[in-house]
Amino acid sequence: MTKYSIFTIARNALTGHKNWPRQWRSPEPAKDYEVIIVGGGGHGLATAYYLAKEHGVRNIAVLEKGWFGGGNTARNTTIVRSNYLWDESAAIYEKSLQLWEGLSQDINYNVMLSQRGVLNLAHSLGDVREGVRRVNANRLNGVDAEWLDAEAVKEFCPIINISKDARHPVLGATLQRRGGVARHDSVAWGFARAADSLGVDIIQNCEVTGIHQENGRVVGVETTKGTIKSKKIGLVAAGHSSVLAQMAGVRLPIDSHPLQALVSEPIKPVIDCVVMSGAVHVYVSQSDKGELVMGAGIDSYNSYAQRGSFHVIEHQLGACLELFPIFSRVRMMRSWGGIVDTCPDASPIIGKTPVEGLYVNAGWGTGGFKATPGSGWCFAHTLATEQPHPLNAPFSLDRFTTGALIDEHGAAGVAH
């Protein structure tokens, strides 16, 4: 792998940028792998990377039915934060944020992490109590968090409307200064390039159509490129997790829904932080290109279509204008949907399944992007050692049997 640096940029500038090497190979699948990862999004690619880097496993395939990073990795609003309420969630999301902070150096790829601060607004007394409680919980868990009153919110984000006459006035907000945004495509490309350089085969246009088992354990997968053998298979397929698990006869507590987002035409820099409101329900940031990036809640119905209903977008734009009247004449350019895998407790499932050798990393629902490195790191540990890491042990599939749910509907910030 050519190391990217200012010198390689200078050297390639001299030759008109015509001699950059390909960033990754496009191999045909081998007959047999030590580990197969199904799903080449951010989480799958991160899993492969950490498996190779931290655990020395090199004989890995990542199978992607389309092109990698073409699903939810490219369909989110790129927000990164770790201010979750419960100890279990704070630990795993904070691990992820710490990995984010060194990621560009680690994988030698600029993921453009911008720690511009994330505000979570409170609009009612209940919201205020919940917000202050979460700030305290975060601090006890070593996660940076501050409580801002309405005036301090206005100072931090001057274009926000804190008028008391608003139907749902801003009463305050939690602030995580280390939160922010990252460049979603770079995350997929960077992990792909780094994993590829460690010998991982990333195979695109290779859809898994069946999972082979012998005596209750997995032995391989059937794909559109033929049969591929492996005794260890990790499913990291987000919205399609249930479909894949069903191939192995495993039922998951997951419902797939569309989650829509949209961007405006590019405008000059106007908002230099991330603003989220669970109550009026919208989240807004501004991309480096100048587009306002927005999202809100899921569409209510189950769906595998990467699109949703228009009234959901109308609702979030109503909320946006309530908070930012200044945006009233901004035109929206594009909207899209991703299929999110929602769990009943708004927490992920990372661990074993009842089938020997079959592992699942799913249920990240509406908030998986921020967890990309941490999720891959934990899942790699689980696949390599066949035991969950203490960070992901609470997020097992059997918590739905034991009842030890991790209810993060509040901190998830997206209604479902």
Partner: protein, 97 residues
């Protein structure tokens, strides 16, 4: 936006309805005899079908009746609407259509 035909009120916009998730999840006949695994199956595990999916809708801003719909979760096409005491019409589950 979906256009849903309520069995009582006829075709209406999706915004008049609330979604009720997967249909035909039968309440356990003898709840005191269920073990934890069976409770987990009943409470949490879902089919999450890709294709023809039987689901419940509630006409919350209309007649306030529950009913069932079979909808293709890939194309969003509504294949059948039927009352809760009627048998599920037979549609093969088929993805990608």
């Amino acid at each position: 936006m979906l256009h849903i035909s309520c069995p009582w009120c006829g075709p209406r916009a999706e915004t008049e309805f609330r979604y009720g998730g997967e249909a035909h999840i039968a309440r356990p006949q003898k709840p005191d005899e269920l073990d934890d695994q069976q409770w987990a199956d009943f409470l949490f595990m879902r089919t999450n079908t890709k294709g023809a999916f039987a689901e419940r809708w509630y006409h919350s801003h209309g007649c306030r009746q529950w009913f069932n719909v079979i909808r293709n979760t890939v194309s969003h096409q509504i294949l059948a609407v039927y009352k809760t005491d009627e048998k599920r019409p037979d549609f093969p589950i088929k993805g990608g259509v």
